[in-house]
Symmetry: C2
Subunit: 253 residues, 2 copies
């Protein structure tokens, strides 16, 4: 899907590809950049980036670097941004590719671009936009999100720019740690009563987002993944506690 | 320089660009890959990679993914590999870009490629080289290493393949932590007696490699960076203790 609600086979709501993409862009500041060398071959490099309010990436490139010279010759470019807190199998975590053209921000966007970039690269104000350094915004034409093995989708630039980054992303890691360390019993009951795994013998929270959480469930029949939707989407990290308590109460009812 | 010993202004030996590049390739397993989309525009993606004994990257790509389809159409590709243990400013840590062509390994190289890839991706033996998955080796034509602000160099493929990854890299982080936590007095004495900063008031180890270490030194005149060469290159992590003890004794003499 490219817009609207994303649901799993059991109807539980999930972030859309556009929301996943915006969350990755908002939650990181390093990207790999692909540009075209003089002979048209691809050139990969690392860059610091910032994001405008609509998710547009902002870069600041020097013509002393090959990628900066490449862009002045051919504006076509692509960035890939991966989850910054990868533990375990890195190919089982999210990443998004944005492809389009790098253009200098117009007068109406220059201040926003510079302000956003300075926020991720303090001190860049002294060189950004001066001398050999130029600010660029990536005009996004294509968006490809991969969420790990088997989860992937493309979305269109309109849906990407309109989507909201997950507002609970900054609290997800600590919520997952707390649930797994202190509430394994409640997670197991949720798997048994709410996820269709009455024979579950163990359950762990693998992921949490504003709409719900993913459980890794162990059963005598083998492992299973389950999605549990919150009664209401969480709009800030502080909402995650009430949302998971409501799930636990529902499982005990 | 593209080969031979690298030295700093004070003559202290440092790893060459080729050695730095090989160390980065050996110490990681995730890379960003730049390939060419159907219209010739660049496409950035994330890949798992392994390395052959000479540093040649091995990839395993699926034609279900855009990068896999790109490579079957145009073999030109580039990977960028960054330090995996970045703390602080990510642009102040090392990364290397390798560019060339992705080719299927010949009969004489296939087993080595598969074995290397399976070591970083357990389970890939069941899909690697079969169905939509193909093993590739990157025939390296260009190497560009960036070591952080102000440190960068290109090297040629011959020097890259001939160089050795730093054999003490796996022990560097713990050695740095130990030196800074427990031997700040010895580091300060080294800065005062061996680095030409008699007025140093504080010194911390910023980096350690087989040839020596980099110190961040504080002086009443402002901060300074200094390079300290070991009496003999260290050939295994266990050699770092003796090498740093020798420096401390030299500083006290």
């Amino acid at each position: 899907m490219s817009s609207g609600h994303a649901t799993t086979g059991d109807g539980a709501r999930r972030p859309t590809a556009a929301e996943e993409a915006r969350t990755l862009v908002a939650g990181n500041r390093m990207a790999a950049l692909a540009t075209l060398s003089e002979d048209g071959s691809p050139w990969a490099s690392l860059v610091l980036y910032a994001a405008l309010a609509d998710g547009t990436p902002v870069l600041c490139l020097s013509t002393l670097a090959e990628h900066g010279r490449n862009v002045t010759r051919d504006a076509r470019a692509s960035v890939v941004i991966g989850a910054s807190d990868v533990t375990g199998d890195p190919l089982d975590s999210g990443r998004v590719t944005l492809a389009g053209r790098l253009e200098e921000p117009g007068d109406e966007q220059f201040d926003a671009a510079r302000t956003a970039y300075e926020a991720v690269a303090p001190g860049s104000g002294v060189y950004g936009g001066f001398g050999d350094f130029t600010y660029y915004v990536l005009r996004v034409a294509r968006v490809r999100w991969v969420g790990g093995y088997g989860r992937m989708d493309s979305t269109d630039p309109g849906a990407f720019h309109a989507a909201e980054p997950d507002p609970v992303a900054s609290g997800a890691a600590s919520a997952i740690g707390h649930l797994n360390a202190d509430h394994a019993d409640a997670l197991l009951l949720m798997a048994q009563k709410l996820c269709g795994h009455p024979d579950a013998i163990e359950a762990a929270c693998a992921r949490i987002d504003r709409y719900g959480m993913d459980l890794h469930v162990q059963t005598p029949r083998g492992p299973a993944d389950a999605r549990l939707a919150f009664a209401e989407p969480a709009n800030r990290p502080g909402d995650l506690r009430a949302a998971t308590v409501e799930l636990a109460m529902r499982a005990r009812a």
